[in-house]
Symmetry: C2
Subunit: 319 residues, 2 copies
């Protein structure tokens, strides 16, 4: 089983890298500086978690909608768009005006290598390329529009309507970053930590799974609302569990193991799960969330094995 998951992760990452390589301008494309800055951060050794979840969700949705054909390379393009959004948020989060971080994935951060101005614009451009990539997805236009609405809502300030399937207030990535900044210097509360996690990292992880599901189903109208709702709920729970594990690793691992500056969360009194609940309870909470997430996938039977195996692996990881 362990080997199967590792193979799946490796294959998903390779598919994603190949899509990113194909979609992003090369380092010799003018103007050089920004394309090199974008590639520096995109190809800095990320785990490709969001694309892998996206691809597996697309595979699941295609499997339960028998009239659709699953094309991994096409799904990986949506995954690449999600990875571009993730990378843009990291580049901006690392800037001196925000987290002021010099190390990310074991590499010097974008602004350290290319300067602040180029790093700001490289982040901007990765967001733009992500939406351009969504515009060029190989799927029906109605599916593209459904994915566009979902993704834009998930990476915004968190007040947008979410697609055709669900209307209401939903967490958004930028909103999570703002709450994180506003909360600094205050003792973190349970409510605030959960809101930040659900928005700052949870929303993009959850939308990787719902957007993958919409893509895999081939036509947004044939994807039943209940399938997408189950994928969303799975994604929200798995995303929160992932972030809790991240918080725990930040407190228990050193910088070399993590590839980024360890202990930074404690040092700046950041809102983290262990800061509220302690390390043991945090680990228990992550496991419980994953069990709840798995329950959402039960009706899909064996088609959900891939997504479940990856989620399991993510909460048991050590970096």
């Amino acid at each position: 089983m362990e080997t199967t998951v590792k193979t799946m992760l490796r294959d998903g990452a390779a598919l994603t890298d190949s899509a990113l390589e194909r979609l992003l301008p090369g380092p010799e494309t003018l103007p050089h500086s920004i394309h090199r800055a974008m590639r520096h951060s995109v190809f800095a050794g990320g785990k490709r978690l969001r694309p892998i979840l996206c691809i597996e969700a697309a595979r699941l949705a295609a499997a339960i909608h028998p009239h659709t054909k699953f094309e991994p390379e096409a799904a990986a393009e949506l995954g690449a768009a999600l990875e571009m959004l993730h990378t843009y948020s990291l580049i901006h989060d690392d800037l001196p005006a925000l987290d002021d971080d010099v190390l990310r994935r074991g590499q010097p951060t974008c602004h350290v290598v290319f300067g602040e101005a180029t790093a700001i614009l490289a982040g901007d451009a990765l967001q733009t390329f992500a939406f351009q990539t969504i515009g060029n997805l190989r799927c029906p236009a109605t599916t593209t529009v459904a994915i566009l609405k979902e993704v834009a809502a998930a990476v915004g300030t968190g007040v947008g309507r979410v697609g055709d399937i669900y209307t209401g207030l939903a967490p958004g990535m930028i909103g999570g970053q703002v709450m994180d900044i506003e909360g600094e210097g205050h003792k973190p509360t349970a409510t605030l930590v959960e809101a930040i996690h659900r928005a700052k990292t949870g929303a993009l992880i959850a939308v990787s799974i719902t957007a993958g599901g919409l893509f895999g189903a081939g036509d947004s109208h044939s994807a039943s609302a209940s399938t997408i709702a189950r994928l969303r709920s799975f994604g929200e729970k798995a995303g929160l569990a992932f972030q809790i594990v991240d918080d725990v690793l930040d407190m228990t691992q050193d910088s070399a193991q993590l590839g980024k500056t360890a202990g930074k969360d404690t040092a700046t009194d950041k809102a983290t799960w262990p800061a509220v609940y302690g390390i043991e309870q945090s680990i228990a909470d992550a496991k419980e969330l994953i069990a709840d997430a798995f329950a959402e996938l039960a009706p899909f039977g064996p088609a959900a094995e891939g997504l479940k195996a990856i989620a399991q692996y993510l909460v048991e990881r050590t970096n």
Copy 2:
């Protein structure tokens, strides 16, 4: 005639403001700081040039495609998305790491009022909201996807493919900003100045007109390639003329008239048209470009009067 243009500009701006007010989260929406920062810059007295051009292009396209109905409020939502993109680029351009400007449209810039971190995120969020707004446009999904591709290509680094209608290298807004930064401190050449202007401001102005045309035609497949090609060419020429006039005004007007720091281009040896050609030649070039732009619209007859009047007004403006 003068009165007609001013009425058109005022009505277009009012439609845009109303769409922006409807689409953007209110100042009391949590988290407060970012929504207030976004609104500070969006409602700082911009002329709404891009939305007005978009609405008039949509009106033109609807007029020459008799089966489509022109709905100004719906077109203004696309205009609002373009204004969000314009505002995001200004917020980031004004940051200390880029132009370090403290005054814009007669108001203190976003980072001066809300701090750098919030200004960076407010710019990010305006880009996201722009694409979310495109996702929610009231038009067929195929039209939305065509508009998405056009707009994303125009505000990117300038290497993307442009929609279904035209494939090739096209200038992009972020690419223009990068060229502008890279060119600083060097004596500007004619080739560089034109490339920067076509990319940094020209691409978004041109796409305001092509996207408006696609929207007004109601269905991207019924908008003939030649209509969109003519609108694109008009937009590229009018956009370049607009920027040349902007350069001239920067050298000949004081800060109070402009509502921003005048003479800044000269002070920092920036790439401007008058720096290469002098003021008189610049004014002549702008007029010639507008005449060429008008020629593109000739086949549309009276339907093009609105777009032409606005373009004429823009090169004769004094602020």
